[in-house]
Subunit: 498 residues, 2 copies
């Protein structure tokens, strides 16, 4: 395989980058092991090791001779692979340089204590335990935005951290449209839709071994390279992690009831993993290996979860495996599985929300985060704002903090500006679907027959193989010739649920 | 916990050492994952990452400001913890500095190709495929000895790499005594001993799940902190690895027959792990955390494997667990288990050798290695020398290269001078036993009742807690007031087998 990197300066950059890559590889293995295998008391030494590796990686990134090479390369004539390398590194260096070390130390201390406070607050349903920490986190987010700099408003700086080039204006426009169109739609679905609000399958209990078999059966049908380039393990919260292009692992969890969750989360993580596995191997060891952004990544997981995993054809496909492993399945039909996977019902918890109401949960968080950053809203005011907005959007009002403002860990981690990428992924998945359908008109039949290769090839050719060569918007233009457009998602909801 | 490191220079050294420690922690996790979990094709990226991390660790160790601090500390008045830190680092720096980078590169290339050649040679029983590589490896070992320097003979330099302070003279003396006394003993055991050469239990087949349960049962009896500070996993070759003092993992393997192997290998690895787990936690993150040498480490694993694991009391203890999980066990008594665990029979393969013949396998390798280093013996001559020596020592002659000179991977890895540490551990285990017995006269009764705490406490107080504070010989003087003495092992063999 000939290298796509011919420019001498870029080659020098990549030569030096290898150790940063290696440290990143190690950090990923250490994280995976921590979530999947680590004995409990290993945490002290593991945390110290992770902390040292982070500092080391930063040091190598910001070494003057490395930064100078990247600066030099910015002025050169380069091919698009090389330009990608320079873009990604320049961005990482800029972000790393923005924050003074004291700020990073303070943030790491505050978020680690805030996380503990959040856990206790959630457990005891006592918001006052978390409130002072949330104020500190809002303050840190504002200062982070100031360090990073922005054109229009502080929230822009944070959004861009998670989704390169994304602006508050765009997110506002997106949610504006969603709110206008999705709200009446939801009402209509609830009144006269084709899907139920409840299904008896939700209450059926299962043995872990049974659903392990089903998940592995599904992954094999997808052609997931188990044991060759990937694994399926168990962790408290499902995730995907890549150690490179040839070792990408996913996890799931088994709760013993409501089997839809473990199936759809496995399918979701498979979507993430496929993005990493189907990259051009010539990107190996470089900073442009790996999915380009959280939004694009989420579009891949949601594509497999929502478009494929919740389709009638998929329910039909997996029914035999379900029936073989779940004794209660004899009482249900494939159509039951389909309806169960597609229930729509306003509820309090984002992670358990259905496809239609999900975006309202994100919209709510976006509004509140923006108010924290731009309008001086304090932690004290947030529970009421949360509950009001929840009632306005979904017509329900949380009775506890735990099922309201305390449900997510993100703010305790200091992560503000991240949530919108979830909606971007959800909308984009539907948009991609209509583009795939143009090239594969018998998409549904292919799903029904487990012929996933053409679908995987489409995603690989249009999106996956590029890794992070292009920034998200440019990648989209290249892949589908247009930018993110919520229309597709609304159309998809109408077609599926009305 | 107050720090035992008060000297300012040593504190600076340890501050800088943290990142070397962190890289080592990461390297260990990466190795463990590679043996236990890694999907096959992950090997390319994993190898590159491991290579980069090794180079990085070396660079930090040899940074002038770090080396200067260590040099400076050598002249200061220090407590014994601090002296240990300086001794260990000074030794590592000296060894690292000895080898020119070109030599290290050459060695890494030769050994990686030699390993492939060895695999093929072993599989096809064709020594000629490996012979040219072995000559290269002998040459590399000679050059390594020259780079390291030595007082008496080149082999000294290699021995010291694996067992700090050990000389060829000492090993020669040890094996001299063993050969003189053990050879007639072996003959006598074979003729009139209390143990058989065969036992029908050897042929009984088992289900993996059954022996998993037995191994876990044993580890729980030992008080192994499974899930808290340790794990038991499966790998092609059993090993122990420490990521720190609070996360020490062992592996075993299940072959489906001859269940003694998986039991004794689990018990063996437990002995290694206990050494790491029972260290003084004040050594955490320092270069004196971790067992001090291969020989001392092997004495711990052999203590649990040979002294405890092959005792009549242990056979009695585990019999109930065996009976519960192995259907065929109903046809056998605890005494059968004891005899089966203690069969003595000259055989070709070192890793399957019994306690008595084991040392002859090592003696053979020691002789051949020394001839390679000091007497110009070439790869061409080695198979014949091997077979002659085997016949002289054990009265049997290998019929194939695979059961003769090609059986071990060590030489292909370039590891020469390592084997003697196996015998040191075996002899020392018996020596420790008689010392333990002075303090715990009812040792056997304690094993029978699974009261392992006093035995573990003895090992912790005398050996484990010290980590690498003292070099091996000093540690022994401190622990038992004498140096390694093969008499004890011979006495133990007589008492047990005659």
């Amino acid at each position: 395989m000939e290298s796509v990197f011919q420019n001498e300066t870029v080659r020098q950059i990549l030569e030096k980058y290898r150790r940063i890559w290696a440290i990143g590889h190690a950090q990923s293995v250490l994280s995976w092991d921590m979530e999947v295998n680590m004995p409990g008391e290993g945490i002290l030494e593991r945390s110290v090791a992770q902390g040292e590796l982070s500092v080391l990686s930063q040091e190598f990134l910001l070494r003057p001779e490395f930064v100078e090479l990247v600066e030099k390369a910015k002025g050169l004539e380069l091919n698009e692979y090389e330009r990608g390398v320079v873009r990604v590194l320049d961005r990482s260096i800029r972000i790393s340089k923005s924050f003074p070390p004291e700020f990073l130390r303070e943030r790491s201390e505050v978020t680690s204590q805030a996380t503990k406070a959040w856990e206790e607050a959630k457990k005891s349903n006592d918001y006052s335990k978390f409130e002072p920490w949330l104020d500190k986190i809002i303050d840190l987010a504002k200062r982070a935005a100031d360090y990073l700099g922005y054109d229009n408003e502080p929230y822009d700086a944070l959004l861009d951290l998670f989704e390169e080039g994304l602006t508050t204006r765009e997110v506002e426009k997106m949610f504006g449209k969603l709110e206008r169109e999705l709200e009446p739609l939801l009402e209509k679905i609830m009144e006269e839709g084709k899907v139920p609000q409840n299904h008896p399958l939700e209450k059926e209990k299962y043995e872990r071994e049974a659903m392990e078999k089903v998940n592995l059966w599904i992954l094999r049908k997808f052609g997931f390279p188990l044991g060759v380039r990937s694994r399926l393990d168990v962790s408290a919260h499902p995730f995907t992690i890549e150690f490179g292009i040839r070792d990408v692992r996913i996890t799931t969890r088994y709760e013993g009831h409501d089997f839809r969750r473990t199936v759809l989360s496995t399918v979701h993580e498979f979507g993430h993993a496929l993005y990493e596995l189907q990259q051009d191997e010539r990107l190996m060891f470089t900073p442009i290996a790996g999915g380009v952004s959280l939004g694009i990544h989420e579009s891949q997981s949601r594509f497999w979860e929502n478009i494929i995993g919740r389709s009638r054809e998929f329910a039909g496909l997996i029914y035999s495996a379900l029936k073989e492993n779940l004794p209660f399945m004899g009482n249900y039909t494939p159509e039951d599985v389909y309806l169960y996977f597609n229930m729509v019902r306003p509820d309090f918890i984002r992670t358990e929300a259905d496809v239609v109401t999900y975006n309202f949960h994100i919209l709510l968080r976006f509004k509140l985060e923006r108010m924290m950053l731009n309008e001086g809203v304090k932690a004290r005011d947030l529970p009421e704002l949360w509950n009001e907005e929840m009632e306005r959007l979904l017509g329900i009002k949380p009775k506890t903090y735990a099922e309201g403002i305390l449900q997510d860990i993100h703010w305790a981690h200091g992560t503000i500006g991240y949530f919108p990428t979830y909606s971007i992924g959800t909308l984009l998945a539907a948009q991609l679907y209509y583009h795939v359908k143009r090239d594969i008109p018998d998409f549904e039949e292919k799903v029904a027959k487990a012929e996933f290769e053409p679908i995987k090839a489409w995603l690989r050719e249009r999106i996956h193989r590029y890794g992070s060569i292009y920034p998200p918007k440019e990648l989209l233009r290249k892949a589908i010739g247009e930018e993110l457009n919520p229309e597709y998602f609304i159309r998809w909801v109408k077609e599926r649920y009305l």
